[in-house]
């Protein structure tokens, strides 16, 4: 059987199965109530950033705060603590971020093999946005984030979030701001599993250490 006949067979079955649906009914005629909350609770922006930090930490992400001028020194310290010598970066990461870092940089490109990525100690990226209520950072493969595998293969991911314009309260707010045309990765803490007796264990295939840096001011000019 070819795909085409499978298609007609299935669509024919669907239409026969729905004989009870009036022919005049349009999809939008079946009501969807959208009276659920756009966000949960009223907070100042500072409190929203605080909630993000709290929820990130609750799922074992390590959270740091700095202002934009302090970012390079903070990153240098994190690499030093980790003992990271080879660091992967997306092509569009502001050059100043790693100015003080005593590490060899590997810039994301389509030619990088998975094995090469596997040999780096850490990866540093920006993000598209972060969601306070769920403790989530979302990557959309923008220039300061790189391809999806860049943040997947290395064992240590540092993600920089601009608190001024990248933190939203809720999932509905995030969905509104994101574009489905870009590949998206939503990250809530380091990789984890609950597969053994439904107990949560952090650290399986994705980065086992996730550090999130909350930056005030605009670090894009660094």
């Amino acid at each position: 059987m070819t795909g085409e006949s499978g298609r007609e067979l299935i669509l024919g079955r669907v239409r026969r199965a729905l004989r009870d649906v009036p022919a005049s009914e349009q999809p939008a005629d079946h009501p969807v109530p959208r009276d659920y909350a756009e966000k949960h609770g009223e907070r100042s922006h500072d409190a929203t950033v605080g909630l993000l930090a709290e929820n990130l930490a609750d799922y074992r992400a390590l959270v740091h705060r700095t202002d934009a001028p302090g970012l390079p020194a903070l990153l240098a310290r994190l690499f030093l603590e980790r003992g990271a010598r080879r660091v992967a970066v997306p092509a569009g990461l502001p050059v100043g971020w790693l100015a003080g870092a005593p590490a060899e940089l590997l810039v994301d490109s389509p030619d990088l093999t998975a094995d090469e990525l596997d040999s780096v100690d850490s990866v540093v990226t920006g993000c598209a946005l972060a969601i306070a209520e769920t403790g989530t950072v979302v990557l959309d493969a923008g220039p300061d984030q790189g391809s999806r595998r860049l943040t997947l293969v290395p064992d240590h991911h540092i993600c920089v979030v601009r608190t001024g314009d990248q933190v939203v309260d809720s999932v509905p707010q995030a969905v509104r701001r994101l574009s489905p045309a870009r590949p998206l990765t939503w990250i809530s803490g380091p990789s984890a599993t609950s597969d053994i007796e439904l107990e949560r264990v952090e650290g399986v295939h994705g980065p086992r250490t996730l550090e999130v840096v909350l930056v005030t001011g605009d670090p894009r000019e660094l």
Binding site: G3, R13, V14, A17, T136, S147, R182, H205, G206
Partner: protein
Amino acid sequence: MTGTYLGMPSFPRAAESSTRDGRLRANLRRATRTIRAKRDRAVAELDDWERLRAAGAAVKDRTLRHLDHYLVQLEESVARAGGTVHWAADAAEANRIVTGLVLATGEREVVKVKSMATQETGLNGALAAAGIRAYETDLAELIVQLGDDLPSHILVPAIHRNRSEIRDIFRSRMADWGLPAPEGLTDAPADLAEAARLHLREKFLRAKVAVSGANFAVAETGTLVVVESEGNGRMCLTLPETLISVVGIEKVVPTWRDLEIFLQLLPRSSTAERMNPYTSMWTGTTDDDGPRAFHLVLLDNGRTDTLADAIGRRALRCIRCSACLNVCPVYERAGGHAYGSPYPGPIGAVLTPQLRGLASPLEESLPFASTLCGACFEACPVAIDIPEILVHLRERVVEGGPVTVRGTRTVIKPAKRHGAERAVMRAAGWAFDHPRALRRGQRLLARTRGLHPRRLPGPGRAWSDTRDLPDVPPESFRDWWARTRGGTGRTGGTS
């Protein structure tokens, strides 16, 4: 366990042995109680939970009532974004399509993300028959695959195994599939997770073809969504050159915005988290990022037959969270294997008989694998009234009636084993229509109380195998009322 669901016994027969397995019951009790308490906390954080549930149910109902429209729209969107859409009317066709796509790449190995749809079609067996090795990469699926076992839970397929059993499986079987388990492996969950990481890493890095399912497929944009925890999903979805996703036709949602509902409902209901660690969303293919070829295989395999039943179709709202399993007293005691399909628990009891049809004593027995307590309905994030569907399917089993089998409407006969039940119900119906006969019968029963057996003879025996016969009171309510008028004293003359 032999790695197949074929020829499984009916639910009561399977449960008779599984309920006597003390270790299985202890494993399940521990795991389901842990997750129940966590889920309650995660759900309580959202004060609009009931409104989210209603919205989720309504989106799914809208989709199902116009499924042809949304499937065609999804096909167009995926094709526009660079993907190829295939349609599979049944399991065999899905397996044939996937096998052909893998063979065409020249590869003989695939990595797999946990997928209910490919469990349902038995894809791994079909690939093996074509000389293709499929590596399961979800930790629990890996445990099941290494143990030559069957999944027993939607979210945590190896929930029936405790940590020391898992360690033993890793020690004895990992070497047959690749990197052996580390020396001196303990049964600490963190050590077991580390062993899985090491075992699978080289497979991820060299994989050229991946097979996945999807949690959602957005008709409007062609976006596919996979929700996971470990990062094995991200590995499979981004490192290989070819990605093949097998997705049930009921997984389509109309709009991008609809995800804001389901991404709140699903993680809190399944792993009881505010958000699961990783969610991947992709739309077709992207230059220099992820697979160069993307194939979407849309699977029917009984879904349109389920759709044809206006009550039964509500089961197709299911987003496979497994909350209903975790709250079910029957699942907790009988375990997942007794349900004889990849879909155990309350949702399996309504899905399996509809997807496969009432084809054997197993499917006929599943609608009865419930106490109708309603905990599943309360926990369901898309408000599927599972007890209502169970009762509807029980009627179909006992009374027969119209069903759709592979697209053709037909009328099934009443199931054989329920003849005695039908006779009793008919007799009861007659007695309730004839009050004098009922009164005489009740008095006769009351007078012969001392002679009643503890178990019924003849055809009623199976019923009383698992139930105590009710005690007959010395006096029927009607006689007591006639004598006392409910104790108001109107005939007693005491006040």
